[in-house]
């Protein structure tokens, strides 16, 4: 009987099976940010266990509220900073080099096919785009990960999704994943890994695959995962070329060992044909409540937000800028762009994208999570509406009483021009 990629990764990492069905895995990368790590640090200190299992396998960043907005967030940053320093964690990213974790860590080459990755952050599933098992966990799991380098999981079942057809103009990875979440519903993939296959996924670059895997959690998924291939090798090339003696084909061939076998067992197989898909957005407070933008074009907006671990990457900024170029934000609409990492910011600047945003009236912020989770840099007031490229539209997510409509960067850009939720196709 064949195995899925997740089963293969579990087999390669299992350290113990204390009870039938519970696998304790060795973890290759434990990622930490300043919101969920400080309480773990404080607890380790109070237990007299202020140490880490392997400082080279721990990656830390201050990204959620940065630069700090108040004394409390400054204290969180300080706790993470001092902990990284005294535990010799070299891969620590502070103000000046920090960016949104799920954009920054892949960019640094920390995630590789076949890896196990945990973080105290639900969107850790993003890293499944590299053919890794990457799961969001809570602070206690994180704490044990930091101390012992292990984490316990029930072996998840896998849902296989084949994305087929040809992507219509104006439809992007974000529209595809929103359509998939609509199909699965918000808990349709709970305790499941969602495996993405098919020609549409194969032809996507890593930015797009990360957008797809990023939102697996919005269907309840433990993780999303794509098969590592030439795109993966291309993205990681500067970090892995020595391992493969400068032979890219050898890397791609080696990645095949992780691929799900043709006779792997899936709980469910779903085929999603994107050929007739239109640009979509969420309505209301659940990410599975998805509608065509053309059906909700009378909804007025107060703010556009382009950024986050879902859609704050360079290709996202390029698409948004191509629509925004030469336009102005509609009267009364605020626009915020937050490039997800300093490298993205710099490239966007070199390509003239930042100027395009600023000329249109956008505020461009430093890389941070900021408004995505309603903590800083663009929190909504009661009754306000935001066209957003983020991943979560829960009640209160971007500010109490606010409404968040999730969409692609193209759709957010178009909505900024009209001041209403807008199908981007007429601007392409």
């Amino acid at each position: 009987m064949g195995k899925t990629i997740t089963e293969k990764i579990f087999d390669a990492h299992v350290k113990d099976e204390p009870f039938a069905g519970t696998k304790v895995l060795g973890i290759d990368v434990v990622m930490c940010h300043e919101i969920t790590t400080p309480i773990a640090i404080a607890d380790l200190v109070s237990r007299g266990k202020d140490r880490v299992f392997d400082p080279t396998k721990i990656k830390a960043v201050i990204d959620h509220v940065t630069p700090p907005k108040d004394s409390k967030s400054a204290t969180q940053a300080k706790m993470l900073r001092e902990w990284a320093e005294r535990n010799n964690i070299r891969d620590f990213f502070d103000i000046g080099s920090n960016g949104v974790c799920h954009a920054l860590f892949p960019e640094k080459g920390f995630i590789r096919p076949g890896y196990t990755v945990i973080m105290g952050d639900s969107h850790t599933c993003t890293h499944g785009a590299f053919g890794a098992f990457a799961a969001g966990v809570g602070t206690t799991d994180l704490e044990v990960g930091i101390l012992k380098g292990v984490c316990a999981f029930r072996l998840p079942k896998t849902i296989r999704i084949d994305v087929v057809g040809s992507m219509p103009k104006g439809v992007y990875a974000k529209d595809v994943i929103l359509e998939i979440i609509r199909t699965l519903t918000v808990n349709g993939a709970t305790d499941r890994v969602v495996e993405f296959h098919g020609p549409v996924i194969s032809s996507m670059d890593m930015d797009q695959r990360m957008t797809i895997c990023n939102m697996a959690i919005e269907a309840g998924g433990t993780s999303g995962v794509c098969m590592p291939d030439s795109q993966t090798a291309e993205y990681l090339w500067t970090f892995i070329k020595e391992d493969y003696k400068n032979d890219k084909a050898a890397a791609v061939k080696d990645f095949l060992k992780w691929h799900s076998d043709p006779d792997a067992v899936y709980e469910k197989k779903i085929i999603v044909d994107v050929s007739k898909l239109e640009p979509v957005t969420t309505v209301n407070y659940k990410p599975d409540q998805v509608k065509k933008l053309s059906e909700v074009s009378d909804v007025k907006i107060n703010q556009v937000y382009i950024g986050s671990c879902t859609n704050g990457r360079l290709s996202d900024l390029r698409i948004a800028a191509s629509i925004i170029k030469g336009t102005k934000l509609a009267h009364g609409v605020r626009g915020i762009v937050s490039p997800a990492t300093p490298q993205i910011f710099e490239q966007a600047m070199q390509e003239g994208l930042i100027k395009i945003f600023m000329d249109a009236g956008y505020c461009v912020t430093n890389p941070t999570c900021g408004a995505c989770l309603g903590m800083s840099n663009g929190v909504l007031a009661e009754g306000e509406v935001c066209a957003s490229t983020t991943n979560r539209n829960f009640y209160g997510r971007m500010g109490k009483g606010g409404m968040v409509h999730l969409m692609s960067p193209a759709s957010a850009a178009a909505s900024g021009i009209t001041g209403k939720l807008t199908d981007p196709r007429k601007y392409l």
């Binding site: 113990d16 204390p18 969920t36 209160g396 997510r397």
Partner: protein, 176 residues
């Protein structure tokens, strides 16, 4: 092991997410106790008062499907814990929330939709007490003048071990 059981808070809605349980703006706190006044502050549920006496006195929450979805923040179980709530009963849980509960040595108990329908229909929300017989894996709901209902539940062996150990750190530290 923690203590389980007491007055019940019924939350008759599915998909209650961790942003509703404890809003992101309180995530800058670095002690669990500081979360206490803000539990369920942003819950979208008709007639629910986050400052009301029902919440303050509760020790057990009974809710619907996909409880604890969204953000991985363990601040959600902690916010329950510092308010004395160590048991959540629901039709289903989001994976991370359920794991966080057991990792803290608390109980996330799944019952069937039918069982929950019965509890929501029959129990008097203002007077229901839930006793937890952990050894026999039974919940005993009692309300009004001597009315009661027993429901049995199951736990995975691992989850049971975490509750007995007092949490995952205790378990893992002794073993790995």
């Amino acid at each position: 092991m923690k203590t389980f059981g007491g007055p019940v808070l019924f939350l008759d809605r599915s998909d209650i997410n961790t942003d509703e349980i404890i809003p992101a703006k309180y995530l800058t706190e670095v002690t669990k106790e500081a979360l206490a006044p803000h539990l369920l502050e942003d819950l979208k549920l008709e007639g629910f008062d986050p400052q009301g006496a029902t919440l303050k006195n509760s020790r057990v929450v009974v809710s619907r499907a996909n409880f604890g979805c969204g953000s991985s923040r363990e601040h959600a179980p902690w916010a329950f814990e510092v308010n004395g709530i160590t048991v959540v009963v629901a039709e289903s849980f989001a994976r991370i929330f359920r794991q966080n509960m057991f990792n803290c040595g608390m109980l996330a108990i799944e019952l069937s939709k039918q069982e929950l329908d019965t509890l929501f229909a029959e129990c008097d929300p203002s007077s229901t007490i839930c006793d937890v017989d952990f050894a026999n894996k039974t919940l005993i709901f009692s309300w009004g003048k001597g009315q009661s209902k027993s429901v049995s539940f199951t736990l995975a062996e691992f989850d049971n071990a975490l509750v007995n150990a007092g949490g995952w750190l205790e378990f893992a530290d002794a073993k790995y």
